[in-house]
Symmetry: C2
Subunit: 224 residues, 2 copies
């Protein structure tokens, strides 16, 4: 009944969603007052939200200049994917050790549904199922902190996908990679699960990197 959300949380969610959806662009400066007026609240909760977003790497405070939406460099992408690949590989390996039958069944069902979405070119379903699949794998891997780190890393770069239609064409190839990963996990083959994860994510990284180099960076005035 009551939406017991604090104004601090509201500000946090508002700013975060703006940044992730490019409503606030990389390199753009924002002020607490601007957000506060926008949301019809005071500066106090906004400033607390700023601190959190700074810790998440989405905002950066430049002394004497103000709060800036963090803009990524190619080195950042390298760092982010290096960690992401390592952690996701770890979690894939651990998921392969999971014996919880309910989770294993759910995983099986999800990959089947993804196959259908891919065959039917249903991008929206695909995106949702993809989220479910990964959160399932994370649950099976049973390391909540690692999952949080990975989600945070994704928040840092995912907006790059919005600028151009990176999804186009990927779904078809991606389903095969996902199927191979799920198969490896369900068969309990840790090493294979790890390997599939690494290979998949390296492909994502490489595609992203070359797209950035060729199509985004040449036109990006305010960073990415």
């Amino acid at each position: 009944m009551s939406d017991k959300i604090t104004l601090q949380e509201e500000a946090y969610l508002f700013i975060k969603s703006k940044i992730l959806n490019l409503g606030f662009k990389p390199g753009e400066y924002i002020t607490d007052l601007q957000i506060a007026e926008n949301l019809n609240i005071s500066r106090t909760p906004v400033r607390e939200a700023f601190r959190i977003l700074e810790r998440e790497g989405l905002l950066i405070y430049e002394p004497k200049r103000g709060w800036k939406v963090y803009s990524l460099t190619l080195d950042d992408i390298k760092e982010i994917f290096e960690i992401k690949i390592n952690l996701e590989a770890l979690l894939a390996k651990k998921a392969a050790q999971c014996t919880d039958n309910a989770l294993r069944t759910e995983l099986k069902q999800t990959i089947t549904a993804m196959r259908e979405a891919a065959d039917g070119d249903d991008v929206d379903s695909w995106v949702n199922l993809d989220k479910s699949l990964h959160s399932l794998i994370f649950t099976m891997a049973d390391n909540h902190r690692a999952m949080t780190y990975i989600e945070n890393l994704n928040d840092q770069w995912n907006r790059l996908r919005i600028g151009f239609s990176a999804r186009t064409g990927r779904m078809g190839r991606s389903i095969i990679e996902h199927e191979k990963l799920v198969e490896a996990i369900l068969s309990g083959d840790e090493e294979l699960a790890e390997k599939e994860t690494v290979e998949h994510l390296e492909k994502v990284r490489d595609e992203l990197t070359s797209l950035l180099i060729n199509m985004v960076l040449p036109y990006a005035r305010d960073g990415i």
Copy 2:
């Protein structure tokens, strides 16, 4: 000349150091007013510090109850070391690829000094050199984000060492493990560097875990 530190930073550093040194104990509740009065400042900067420390996993906010110093469970230790081992192994591997001669020389000098400190039973020097060594390896590994994650993970559990003298006796064995790691890095043997790191950290984890189970948890009323 000017200590251009903001009161928010002062509060952050104060609370963090208190938590890390067990001045604020795990499970203890603290209020913004209490900190503010302690430092003779207002609540506003303290609240911002709270938000940051929450994101770092040192404080946790319990709705309707207040801010509590996070207290670890054995599962937390498991999670933390799983990630720590994974990331440090990655960095060791990358450090082994480093060709920067200045850094390599510094590494060599540091491990030599550590050997001397170990032989001379100079614990203070050892602790400092150990810090230098790891920060050197992190520099060689060239992934600043990963280093930050590792440091944050360490902040989460290191206070456990304070309660009991976990260092006792470890220095002698530890120097050998460190020497083997440095040798692997300098020889450029990625796989070995990774292996030494994992084995070393697994030992640390196991010692810590058994100490906790046997000597700390039985007497810990307010968590660890």
